[in-house]
Symmetry: C2
Subunit: 534 residues, 2 copies
């Protein structure tokens, strides 16, 4: 340990209390561990308990030239978890800043700190008997709302584009200066958090996917619970029908009949959310062959591509949307089905008549449907975490106990973005399929119609880190996949620790400007160096 670092750690202790400065081996290892291989070393972990402490820590770090890697709760699973983008950093975790600072039922917003988790907000709204819904992701219920927003993550409802529903921020600059974005810059501004652009240049975007500041508050918009909502499902039988399916759904998303994100999982993806790798049936071989997948999944009624979306509104509005959807899809997709809470509760109790009504064999399907339905109305769930244990040979733990980092689950997400169109879907899928199968991984993907015009294809490379050689194979697969995707023009909507280097190659004037801005706001270069190439 250098003298500089030691002095800095001492000062951190004075600022935030000794017990919140950790350098023990166990902690270090935990924070150096992701769901894929990384050789980043960290020097310690600090957990400030207030904005003032965050400011003090950054000032100290600047003085001693110690890099600080800021995380919210560190649940960035599949993208690098808590591991820094540079070597020899001190991780600053913000989980202790966990207050819900403001809430407005009439205008539909909440102001949170970085430690506020999905579950916490969900409980808060319940406790307030609020008529507002949040948007949730299918990742940890304990992940930070701000952490996800900072990475521009997405969910399932009308508010799926999380950064798109941010009304304002509070940010600590690397120099320790505190600022309010949007109208928050003016004391007493009534539309603070309400009108996001503010007056003058709009800067909130600078603090997402970046290292230009530490977000310490976000005002997040919420949606009023609609009088009714329905989940709907449809699928196509054959893999080759993907472009067709995308072309069918595109106009519905573009014209606003579908106001929420739509998710389309392939059979690998759906199967992987229902059970672990069938080691017995495959005799230990990987990857899972199409034939076996087809045979094993026969008992369920899913297709090669399975789309699900949701409708929100009055009874009449939903009826009208259903009609428009049916008109567009009927006869062209397999099993177009609508599902509401009433049908769900019936299904829970009366599985046989339900099967008779809808043709869906419930069985384990309900295990997935329940949380899927919940996500449609912003209910966070851990039910999808066990899918990170796909290639593990021991049984996955209960959802609440799942910890993929700890348990050696291998998982790397790659999430390229494309225009919503059949031709793009086809090209993307053929790259993914070829590349993953070549490296003996299942090409498990979900395609999200994220906005009116853009879709994101989330590819998971799933493996078992405890099997020798798998870490290296997965990274090789990842690197080849990323290279092929970007060469074809498909860039990820966010980067994992494994793909951050992509930015280092960027010689554009855009990158030049960002580097100038970084130099301006962080002259000591101490905040999360290397994040997104900065």
């Amino acid at each position: 340990m250098t003298e500089q670092l030691e002095a800095a750690l001492n000062e951190f202790s004075q600022c935030i209390g000794e017990s919140y400065v950790m350098t023990d081996v166990e902690t270090i290892i935990r924070y150096e561990t992701a769901t894929f291989k990384t050789d980043r070393k960290i020097l310690g972990v600090i957990k400030p308990g207030s904005v003032a402490e965050v400011q003090a820590c950054l000032i100290t770090a600047s003085r001693y030239g110690v890099p600080i890697y800021a995380i919210s709760t560190g649940k960035n699973v599949g993208y690098g978890s808590r591991v820094p983008s540079c070597n020899n950093a001190v991780v600053m975790e913000l989980s202790r800043l966990d207050r819900i600072i403001d809430f407005n039922e009439d205008l539909g917003y909440v102001t949170v700190e970085p430690g506020v988790t999905q579950q916490q907000l969900f409980e808060y709204l319940k406790e307030k008997k609020s008529n507002l819904w949040m948007d949730a992701t299918g990742s940890f219920t304990s992940h930070s709302l701000i952490g996800n927003i900072a990475e521009r993550g997405f969910g399932h409802t009308i508010m799926a584009d999380h950064f798109g529903n941010v009304g304002g921020m509070e940010v600590v600059l690397p120099t320790g200066k505190l600022l309010q974005t949007g109208l928050g810059r003016f004391k007493g501004a009534k539309a603070r958090g309400i009108y996001r652009w503010g007056v003058g240049p709009y800067i909130d975007g600078l603090f997402t996917q970046s290292n230009l500041g530490v977000i310490t508050q976000v005002t997040l918009w919420l949606m009023p619970a609609p009088p009714c909502y329905q989940k709907f499902f449809c699928s196509v039988e054959k893999e080759e029908q993907l472009p067709e399916l995308i072309e069918l759904l595109r106009p519905l998303r573009l014209n606003g009949t579908l106001r929420s994100a739509m998710h389309i999982g392939n059979d690998y993806k759906v199967f992987g959310s229902m059970q672990q790798y069938p080691w017995e049936e495959t005799g230990g071989e990987t990857p899972l062959s199409r034939e076996l997948l087809d045979r094993l999944s026969e008992k369920w009624d899913f297709g090669a591509w399975n789309a699900s979306g949701a409708l929100y509104g009055t009874k009449g509005e939903i009826k009208a949307a259903k009609k428009a959807i049916k008109k567009q899809l009927r006869g062209k997709v397999k099993s177009l089905r609508f599902l509401d809470e009433r049908l769900m509760s019936i299904a829970e109790f009366i599985k046989v008549p339900y099967r008779w009504l809808t043709g869906i064999d419930l069985g384990d399907m309900l295990k997935i449907l329940r949380p899927v339905m919940g996500l449609t109305r912003g209910v966070p769930t851990n039910e999808f975490l066990p899918s990170a244990y796909w290639r593990k040979k021991s049984p996955a733990p209960n959802p609440e106990d799942a910890d993929p980092d700890r348990d050696g689950c291998g998982l790397i997400w790659v999430a390229p973005i494309a225009p919503t169109g059949g031709v793009y879907a086809q090209e993307l899928w053929s790259i993914v399929k070829r590349c993953l199968l070549k490296h003996s991984f299942e090409p498990s993907v979900s395609i999200t119609l994220l906005t009116e015009r853009a879709m994101d294809c989330v590819i998971n490379i799933a493996f078992d880190r405890t099997v020798a050689g798998e870490d290296e194979k997965a990274i090789a697969c990842h690197d080849e996949l990323l290279c092929e995707l970007t060469t074809a023009g498909y860039y990820p909507y966010r980067l994992s620790l494994a793909s951050m280097e992509l930015m280092d190659k960027d010689q554009s004037s855009y990158m030049g400007l960002l580097k100038q801005l970084k130099q301006t706001v962080d002259p000591a270069g101490i905040l999360s160096p290397g994040r997104y190439g900065l």
Copy 2:
């Protein structure tokens, strides 16, 4: 003329051709003239014809330290027209960059240069027999789309928030460097212009309401023409019912039943769009008294506050939305009415039965309804320009010939933003009313429910610049109004040349950061100095 300037002008001439460098008195006066008093002097006007020429001009300007004030087509009427934010600048007008560079029917976008006007895009879509609609403002058909986006202006449809529907930009930095924002930074990126956030920090907002770069291209999203659309109207009789009306409409806008901006004009506003100031009836007195306004407007059926919005979708979707609106409003507002193209064409020809059907006395009303209806589907119009001649004693010219700058029309817009709520509307209105009447101007306002949560109150101070003393009275009224509004927490969503000084008072860290950024990207300080306080 200093030597520096002379040398710069020579170099501009070499770069872009002598005929595009203007320093004649007539041009100078035209560019120094707005619809309110300003004492800004300009040194000349340059009109580059390409991005390369824009770059060359900025490099030249930097070398000679000559401030450049960039405008698109300069139709920022009511906010300062073409007049620079600083003294002794050379105005760089981009009207010659008028290409429509890219267009995609399936994905609903168009890429335009700063010289592309509303009308040009409208004609282009018509010519292409496109099924896409643009969003239009009620200002000049000849105003630049980019000019409006750069000021974060708004319109009337689902795409009313213009900057909110930008998928990417091309920008020339003050140093002459060219950059593409969003995914455009990567050569060959398929989702360029489609997915706005890109990868890494999102920076587009930096180039709106700012002087950090010159926007030379914008990819603008368009909406698919819905199978059906309907305009709807409602009003409240008494001035005091404003909060009530806002509270009634708020939930409809928040829950997405109303997906487009809603406009609420008061009686002064509606009256002012139908005729000029009634000089005869008032015997030359100002302001217009409530009694006279009531008497003169009796023949039309408008209330103290008149709301109009629009519904888009399939027949079924519109029916459902209508039902939800009726449920919320019926019995609580006056004359809730729906109007579609069919009814409009009937009305054009058969005015008597129409009156019988709807209760609306058509007469001059159709003159307003036609362009209002057009704006609902993105048809630009000049029909509202004559309202800038409100206080003129000579008759307003035909809409196509209107030129408020030239004709000495007095007009200052002030556009404070507020959360959508009755209490805010009430407070805003009482400030506006008191202040405008005090200075003998009519408190003519329209309140736009711009987003799900925010409303913008556009106040116009209208006067006759050719009447001695009016210029000064109007500025005094403006300054007092702005001061009262901001003291109460209502900040404008954009600033006029008259209100730009507001930013000079801002001592926030936000402003500090912006100033640092300005210094970084424009070390010579030559691009539009003073805009938004930078």
